[in-house]
Amino acid sequence: MRSSTRASAIPKAAADSASRPTGTLSLLVRRFLRNRLSLAGLMILAVWIAVALLAPVLAPHDPSDVNLEVRLLPPGPGGWLGTDYYGRDIASRIFYGARYDLLISLFAVGVALLSGAPIGVIAGYRGGRVDNLIMRVIDVIMAFPALVLAMALASVLGPGLEKAILALAIVGMAGYARLARASTLSTREEVYVEAARALGAADASVLWRHILPNIISPLVIRGTLGMGFTVLLAASLSFIGLGAQPPTPEWGAMINEGHNQLITGSWWVSTFPGLAIMSLVLGFNLLGDGIRDVIDPRLHTV
């Protein structure tokens, strides 16, 4: 689903203009704090992180406690978000679920970024055949719709949370590689980088001192937005049964578990986890936008 965001969260234009941050850290922080929407994003994420950490305290019930006597209770005294098909408390499951959805996005994006970026930098810095080969492979990977590729990879890797994370990471990797390459390319041709190389600086030193600082900000922006997308993709995988395994209270899996009861009127089973996903993804998107607005100077030339 939504393969689009993968390819386009940061359009090429933004990558091209990935220039150095134009201010000190404190300036950046002040700019960030001025933006109410980004602050809201930060707040949403902070709340979910707190919920994830405090889940055992907050949750009134064990999230996988099966009790058929209280199955499919509507929101109310039986549980403020109701109970599901097995009589499990939906609120408790959403609280515990925050742990899984946060972990999945964090790890999947982390692995994708840390493996994709070096590949992209090598391609961009070396150029020539290496670049060509790497870029063709990346083109191929990116031509697949994200969910299709994730499904295939999850089928190959087998069931389980760690396998799903790996599948999501592989899907995301190509995008980071392409972005890192584009940023490296544009930085490499800057006068001061060419000068450093002409003066005989070692590749490692050029990469570390000149390239890296310049590619970090687009990668961070993309990574933050990518976390939101990864949550959605992970939920899709779980929705078709290839992601988190029952009785794990992952939110996508919860939508799946409730979707056959939607019609019999038990709307709450699928609705609340969906809202949870939406708020978490919104948090990542707002934060990502905020970071971009702060780092990308084009919008602050006034």
């Binding site: 099966v66 058929l68 097995y86 087998g158 029952p246 009785p247 979707h259 056959n260 019609i263 019999t264």
Partner: protein
């Protein structure tokens, strides 16, 4: 020669959950009275009766092709239900020799294929030999006692079949559409004829049978239909068209049924059926299929290679609770290793009940006093199996058995259980109403793995009893053998049976004449829509 008495069959449990009695408010009009709208989530794959291996194709061909014999019906509480007994159909009469080896079929006169050719003895011989020559799925049981020279044309309307050994299965197999369908030799020959071992592309897309319906328009992925054959030998069917709509989402199917836009939906998940109870416009038919919903144990894999562990597993499980959790208690909870509609079934040799103390002591005797860790598998997306796994996990935890749930894609699931690579898995099948067939494929040690004994269960005594049953013809002897087999298997506990496979059909009340058969056949000829 003795006239064949229709053989003793097994009672089919068809329970009609009566819908609300006497709704007073005005009945809605029957919508589309000459078209039956059937909501399905599957699609037939092949229309060649001698090549099919899936139920969906079989259900279609039940109506386009016919067989020499067919399962009969009977009245139970004013309701017509199918039986496991066969009666003549395209054959007017059948004579069986005293030694049970020679069957003589006297054919009906004037039965025509859709193309207009008459069905004769030649067509019968051609059809049986074609099935043997293709050697695809359907021939596997029948080739044990029929060869290409077994069938002989006596005259235009008489066929004689000489079995290589007597078999109580023969007539039942002739009643199956994929084993007994009579095809038109002229049509097959005009489109490539018979190539041994290979399906026929024309036959897999087209139909020329003698049945009450012909094959209509097929929009892959969307719809397919059966169209009335006005020249059917018993008279044109009451319905003009049976339109199947492929709707993969059960929610949508249920919605459309409630709104009267669909007439029948097949096999709704039980949790949805709950909503239909009490609806005055909808009737729910519940049928016990030939199969068990069960958690298979891999009898070759530790710790399930230990009989005590398997028994402990059955004591720790509460099949009634799983039945309630998964099927809202509508299914018939298991009381034996075989499905209850099968001949010779008995619930009197069932040793298990929920007993955690017993389960723990058995585990301790087996050396697992502290329990153990294992994994249970099912195919992703199957909600019945998923619910079973989740319920079982919660129950087994109490006995110290820690189960991790694994949902995997269908192809991987199949290869894993066939090759005996996974310790526990949830699976339920749908088989023929033939007890020999069920026992051989599920429990005989020669059928380990892909051949049907997915538990890799081995008990030489059971093997010997099943072999005896294959040639046993006296009812008493058969019953005692089948009873002994169940006692032995139940005690060995190669698998954890939960409940008898359940088939749900929900239909509008205006659908009349739909009869369910334990064999799983679908015959639309008597169906009509009226209030």
């Amino acid at each position: 020669m003795t006239r064949l008495p229709t053989r003793l069959g097994v009672l089919l449990a068809v329970v009609v959950l009566a819908a609300g009695v006497g709704a007073v408010n005005a009945q809605p009009r029957v919508s589309n009275p000459d078209t039956l709208l059937y909501g399905v989530y599957w699609e037939p794959v092949n229309l060649d009766p001698h090549a099919i291996t899936d139920w969906a194709s079989m259900w279609m061909l039940d109506n386009t092709y016919e067989t020499l014999v067919r399962y009969s019906t009977k009245q139970v509480q004013n309701k017509t239900v199918g039986t496991a007994d066969v009666q003549p159909h395209l054959a007017e009469g059948i004579d069986v020799s005293a030694d049970g080896v020679t069957y003589t079929f006297r054919l009906r006169h004037g039965v025509k294929f859709h193309s207009g050719d008459e069905m004769t003895a030649d067509a019968v011989r051609y059809s049986i030999n074609r099935m043997l020559a293709l050697a695809l799925g359907p021939s596997r049981l029948i080739s044990e006692f029929i060869t290409p020279t077994s069938t002989e044309v006596v005259d235009r309307y008489t066929v004689r079949v000489k079995l290589t050994k007597p078999s109580p299965l023969f007539l039942q197999l002739m009643a199956g559409t994929n084993t007994g369908a009579i095809v038109n030799p002229k049509t097959v020959d005009a489109h490539g004829g018979i190539t041994p071992g290979k399906g026929n592309d024309w036959m897999s897309r087209n139909v020329d049978g003698t049945g009450p319906f012909t094959w209509g328009e097929w929009r892959a992925g969307e719809s397919f239909e059966l169209v009335a054959n006005p020249n059917y030998w018993q008279g044109a069917p009451k319905l003009r068209r049976i339109a199947f709509r492929i709707i993969r989402d059960f929610n949508t199917q249920l919605l459309l049924l409630l709104r009267g836009e669909l007439d029948i939906v097949y096999r709704l998940p039980p949790e949805m059926t709950a909503q239909l109870i009490g609806n005055p416009d909808v009737v729910i038919n519940r049928e016990n299929g030939i199969g068990m919903h069960q958690i298979w144990m891999n009898n070759r894999m530790s710790p399930f290679d230990n009989k005590k562990v398997r028994q402990a597993f059955l004591y720790a499980l509460d099949p009634y609770a799983i039945n309630r959790a998964v099927a809202f208690g509508y299914a018939e909870t298991a009381k034996s290793a075989i499905p209850s509609p099968l001949e010779g079934w008995t619930g009197k040799v069932w040793p298990y009940r929920v007993d955690l103390v017993k389960a723990k002591s058995l585990l301790a005797e087996a050396g697992y006093a502290n329990g153990f860790h294992t994994e249970i598998y099912y195919n992703a997306g199957n909600s019945e199996r998923e619910k079973t796994a989740i319920s079982a996990q919660a129950q087994l935890k109490k006995a110290g058995i820690d189960v991790e749930i694994r949902s995997i894609p269908w192809p991987t699931f199949v290869s894993n259980y066939e090759e005996g690579k996974i310790p526990l898995f949830v699976l339920s099948g749908l088989g023929l109403p033939i007890v020999e067939d069920y026992l051989i494929s599920n429990f005989h040690s020669k059928n380990h793995g892909a051949r049907g004994n997915y538990a890799y269960y081995t008990n030489k005594e059971v093997d010997a009893l099943i072999d005896q049953l294959l040639t046993a013809r006296e009812a008493d002897k058969r019953r005692s053998i089948i009873g002994d087999v169940q006692r032995l298997i139940n005690d060995d506990a190669p698998s954890a049976w939960i409940y008898n496979s359940l088939l749900f059909y929900a239909q509008r009340k205006w659908v009349k004449g739909w009869v369910l058969y334990p064999s799983g056949n679908w015959y639309f000829y008597p169906v009509q829509k009226s209030l």
